[in-house]
Amino acid sequence: MPIHEQSLIRPENLKTHDKLVLDGVDVSGHWSTFIEPRVVTDYNEALQEEIAALPGGEHIHRCWQCGSCTNSCTVNAVNPDFNPRFWIYLIRMGMESELLRDKDIIWQCVSCNKCTYACPRDVFPEGVMKATAHWLELQGHTPKSKSTLFDEEFTEQVMATGKIEEGRIIRGFFAKTGQALMQDWLVEMAKRLARRLPIKLGFLMGWATIFRPRTRGWSRAGEAIEEYVHEQQAKQRKALSLE
C-alpha cells in the first residue's frame, strides 16, 4: 500500500523486500513497503510548556491536528518538509528528538498568516513557529538564524532612534551575516536605478546617512523598551531553565 505523508517517516524505517512471502502471499517489492516499528522513550514532558512560555507559543495547547495550517502554508508549497501541523504534534507529544530533525528549516516561516487565518482553534500557528524557532536558538540547538539577526539589527535601530533607515539595516544585516553587498543581482538592481535616479541609489547605498531619520526626544521611550525587553528575556530564560 502506498504510504501517505511518507516524508514523515525516516528512510531507515522504511523496508521493502526483494523476496518475502507471508502466509503464502508474496509481499515483495515497492508495493509492499513496511514501516519498521519502533519504541520512543526519550519524551521531553516539558516541551509544550517551554514553547508556550515564549511569545507566540501561548495557545499551542488548543491544537486538534486538523492540518489547516500545513494545508494553507506558503512555505510548505515550496518545501513539503515544512510542516507546522506535524511540529505542533511533536511538541505536544514531547518528541523533542523528532522535532530536532527539522531544526534548520523551522525559522523559514514567512509570517504570511495564512495558517492563523485558516486555524479553527485560534492556535496562532505563525506565533508557534516563531516561538519554536526561538526555543531552538535559546536551547543552543541552532545558531541564530539570518531572520533573527535581521530582527535584532532592526530592533536595535528602533530602540536607538525610534525609526529605521533601510540602507543602514541592509548594511548592518549584511555585515552581521558576512554577505557581500556586491552580489550580482544587487548590482544589477542598482544599475537599473542609477539610469533614472542616482539619488535613490545613493540613499540605498547609505550615502545619505547624514539625513538619518530619528524620532525627537526618543531616549526615554527607547530606554523603557530596552528595560522591558531585558526583563522579558530573563523571564524566558528562566522558564526554559537556562538560568
Binding site: P55, G56, T74, V75, V78, N79, Q108, V110, S111, C112, N113, K114, T116, Y117, F124, G127, S145, K146, S147, T148, L149, F150, D151, E152, F154, T155, V158, G162, K163, I164, E165, E166, G167, I170, F173, F174, T177, D184, W185, E188, M189, R192, L193, R196, L197, K200, F203, L204, P213, T215, R216, W218, R220, A221, E223, A224, I225, Y228, V229, Q232
Partner: protein, 307 residues
Amino acid sequence: MNKYRKVAYYPGCALEGTAHAYNRSTKEVGKALGLELDEVKNWNCCGAMEVKNVDPKVQTYLSSRVMSIAANEMGADVVMAPCNGCYHNLKKAEHDLAQDAGSREVVERISQKAGHATYRAGQVETIHALDWIKHGLGEEGLKRKVKNSLKGLKVANYYGCMYTRPRHIFPEKDKGPGTESTSQPHFMDDLLEAAGAENVDFPLKTACCGGAHTLSDSDISTKLVLNILRAAEAAGADVIATECPTCHSGLEMHQVRAEKVFGEKTKVKMLYFTQLLGIALGLSPRKVGVHENVSDGIALLKDKELA
C-alpha cells in the same frame, strides 16, 4: 463632513526610504482629489514584523504611540497608513489593547516612562490608503476626476498578506456589500476600474511575496515572487498594482534576482496603485515618482499612450 476627507497621515519608515514614490504619489493623489492629509507629528516606527518577533508587546507599544499622538496631540479621529505593515500593526495594537489586559499594562508602563499619554483602544480608527479614497471619495467621485483614462491597461491587483490577515484584527471587513473582503479583496480593483483600467482575473491577490525574508532567505522569496509575476503574466496583465511598500520592493528586487540568479525573465511591471490613479488624474509620471521605481513603468505608460 465625511470624516475620511481629512485624516492623520502615518507614512512610516519605508515611505521615507525605498518607497518614497508611494509617499509622493499618495500625497499628489490626495491633492488632486481634494482629500487632506495631516502628517502625524514626530512619529516613530510601528514595530514592523521584526520588533514583533523580538517581543510582540513592544510592537504594540510602538504602534500605540503613533495612535496616541494622532488622538491626544492632534485631535484626529482617523489615522491613515498606506503601508500594509504599518496598517496591520496599528490594527493589531488596537485589537490587543481592546482585548488583552497584559498588552494594556505594558503599553501603560512604557508610555508613562516615555512621558506621553497612554493610547486607549477606540480613540482613533486606523484605515489604509485604499479605504481613504474609497470612503473619502468613492468610485463615482473618482470617475468624475479622471482626465487620462487607463483604458486598455491590463492590471493585476496584488494585495499581499498584511492587508487581510489574520482576519480578527480587521473587524470591519467581511461585513457584506460595500465592505472589504478578506478572502477576495476588491477595493483596489474598484478604484482602478473607476480610473478606466481593465482588471485581469488574478488568482494570487493575497499570496505571499516572502517579504519577511527578502534578504534572509532570498531563494524562497524569489520563488514566491516568480509565482506571482508568472500568474500575473498568464492572466494577461501589463502591470501589477501594489499597495504595500514591502510587497512592491520585494516584487521589484526578486524580479531582478530571478533574472540574474535563476535566468528566469519576466516582463510585467510594478506600479503603486496611487501612481496609476495619479496618471489617470492627469498627473505626470515624474510627479507620481514612476522614475523612482526599479521596473520601467515609464516605457509601459508610453507604450499605452498614457504618458
